[in-house]
Amino acid sequence: MADSNETLTVRLWRGDATEGDYHTFTVPRRENQTVLDVVTEIQRRHAPDLAYRFACRVGVCGSCAMMVNDTPRWTCRTHVSKVAGDGTLTVGPLRNMPVIRDLVADMTEFFDKWQKAGGRFQGSRTRAEPMAEVDTTSKARRHADASIECINCGVCYAACDVVGWDKDYLGPAALTRAWTLLNDTRHADQRGTLDRAMDQGGCGSCHTQGNCMRACPVGISPTGAIAGIKRMSLLDFLGMRGR
């Protein structure tokens, strides 16, 4: 249990798209304190103009992701005691995205790449037709299940080194989305999604480093999804892609 006299030294990124640096704040340590609590405390007591994002505070919405000690994390689900063993904490905006201000990153490109990777669902039935039946025990459905919990928090995108050096790379989240659609029997544009996911900047650019898989707060393996799309593409070429 943290002593009420104990303090925490927090280096927090302040700045905008053009310049900025880390400012140091001192806040009291509290029991069961999360990194989001610390950021909120700094905003309430020290820097009222601090910009940061959060909504649900319980790991559902995925909007509070930031770099915590150089690792992308959901700040609401990160206990200070787990990451600030030496009493210091460094918090910054998500990596690989332009900064809007302070801890707020511009996620426009991240979401645009979803579309580029063929992540838009396209149905084939009208509402007059009966609902599509999905076999919940099928292999495709199990693959989709493994990736479908993604809430677009951007943690994997910030964790990925390839995103950092290859501006064309669509990133782990967008390709994971494509993988769920490729395993969704209701999705009509299978061809379009597979082609886009394998196009320049798609699965071929992944280096299989696995940072996305390690960082994902919900335990999804984008690395596995990308490998799955590659495998599907190969089988598709050989005319052996099963549905």
Binding site: W165, M198, S205, L234
Partner: protein, 112 residues
């Protein structure tokens, strides 16, 4: 050619090359460790069409596989445009193919 096709070609050529690289390395180790002279090696490689056929396939696989990988590396690490990268990759592939086939021709003994 689409990125997906290039990806498939690279994987399939790798599939062809993998056992061939092992055999190739085995041959090198055997030839050098057994202390074979150049003449003895050439006599063996020219003794059966199997070796030239093996190495022709090997060269073809290399000429497909290597330029695709080189293209990916260049695209990722240099600021060369897409056309420039493609040109270098195709050129490199063509040179590999020519030099490789020339070498196969030389050890096949068919010229003499």
């Amino acid at each position: 050619m689409s990125e997906a096709r290039l990806f498939v070609l690279q994987r399939l050529s790798a599939l062809v090359m993998a056992p061939m690289v092992l055999l190739h390395l085995g041959v090198i180790l055997y030839a050098t460790r057994a202390g074979l002279s150049a003449e003895a090696i050439l006599a063996r490689t020219g003794s059966t069409p199997l070796w030239p056929v093996f190495y022709t396939l090997f060269v073809l696989a290399v000429a497909v596989h290597v330029p695709i990988g080189l293209r990916n590396v260049l695209r990722e690490w240099t600021s060369l445009g897409r056309a420039g990268v493609n040109a270098i990759a195709i050129g490199f592939g063509a040179i590999s193919l020519l030099l490789g086939l020339r070498a196969v021709w030389a050890v096949s003994g068919w010229a003499s």
